[in-house]
């Protein structure tokens, strides 16, 4: 069973997305900010990382910088999109950038699978 680390400071997002991800067959772990995510990654490397941008203590972008060398397939899922957030995230190694209001969990997973498949 592939493992997924879902990082979001909003409990409801973790619950709503998490249930859908688990139903899709992922073993899901959760973190509420970048610092918790870093600790979770150090304890056990996930197969897939989905991370929010705006979080307290450590933001998604800072987390991306810190884990870049680990080459974990990482996707950003955010509510707030600033002018350069998408470019910044992709430049930091994210494989995809999605807006929560544009995509449901099942479509998100399909897109992640497509982007994760080597061409």
């Amino acid at each position: 069973m592939p493992s997924l680390l879902f990082v979001d400071d909003e409990l409801l997002y973790r619950q709503l997305y998490g249930t859908a991800f688990e139903k899709a067959g992922y073993q899901v772990r959760y973190a509420a900010n970048g610092e918790e995510a870093l600790a979770a990654i150090k304890s056990e490397r996930p197969d897939l990382l989905i991370v929010d941008c705006v979080m307290p203590i450590m933001t998604g972008m800072t987390l991306l910088k810190k884990i870049r060398r680990r080459k974990i397939p990482t996707f950003v899922l955010t509510t707030l999109e600033g002018d350069t957030d998408r470019e910044d995230a992709l430049a930091l190694g994210a494989k995809g950038f999605f807006s929560k209001s544009d995509i449901d969990p099942e479509t998100l997973l399909k897109k992640i699978q497509t982007l994760s498949t080597p061409t």
Partner: protein
């Protein structure tokens, strides 16, 4: 104390951004919950519950549309709305339009086509324009079908939406002027008005033009050129 200027709460761009982020977050949470319930994530539902959720889905979608529009209008009126030109993937502007307006377009056809792989425009506001066009047109008619084309030609990005049906507004070119007064008080017209005003604000900021014309009694074309 008498000479103190009035307090402002949303005029600082960062404060306004976070306030709208919070409003949008709650709307998105509702959409996600509705999606999970409808799609059976928590198990099967009785038909009556599914019908109620479909109605709720439209309300939530309209709510989200209104938040987006008011956020843009707030930034525009505070001179904080900017159009940053870059290359935007055409597919990003057209691929998720059915999802944005799915509840309003239930049972109708919606098609999106990016004629060119890259369009020139703001990476956030250009996709917003395609979404706003589709969501608005879905509410201008109860039965009409929607098709959207996005192309880049002669240094300009053009978004062209065709709304086809038998119940279209009689005088479409007055829709913009009427809507931008935000004078409607009945749902879903308030969301339509606010969204059309937001489109106007974005198009003005981008230095573009837009129009709504009746090609025939059964077809309206809305075109934005930036």
């Amino acid at each position: 104390m008498d000479n103190q200027p009035p307090k402002t709460f949303l005029s600082h761009p960062q404060q306004a951004r976070l306030a709208w982020h919070d409003a949008k977050k709650h709307a998105t949470l509702l959409r996600l919950l509705e999606h999970n319930l409808t799609s059976g994530t928590y198990g099967p539902l009785p038909d009556q519950a599914k019908d109620a959720l479909r109605s709720m889905g439209l309300v939530i979608e309209t709510h989200s549309l209104l938040i987006d529009a008011l956020s843009i209008l707030s930034r525009y009126e505070n001179q904080a709305l900017t159009w940053n030109k870059t290359w935007v993937e055409g597919e990003r502007c057209t691929e998720s339009i059915a999802q944005h307006a799915g509840a309003a377009l239930a049972g109708r056809t919606v098609e999106g086509q990016a004629v060119d792989a890259q369009l020139e425009g703001d990476p956030v506001l250009l996709p917003y324009l395609t979404y706003a066009l589709v969501a608005t047109s879905a509410r201008l008619s109860a039965q009409g079908n929607v098709s959207l084309r996005a192309k880049y030609e002669d240094g300009r990005t053009t978004l062209e939406l065709a709304l086809r049906g038998h119940d279209l507004p009689a005088i479409p070119d007055q829709v913009i002027a009427t809507a931008c007064t935000l004078s409607h008080t009945e749902e879903p017209w308030l969301a339509v008005s606010a969204t059309l005003a937001a489109i106007e604000a974005v198009v003005q900021t981008a230095g573009g033009t837009w129009s709504i014309k009746a090609k025939s009694p059964q077809e309206i074309i809305i075109q934005i050129v930036i």
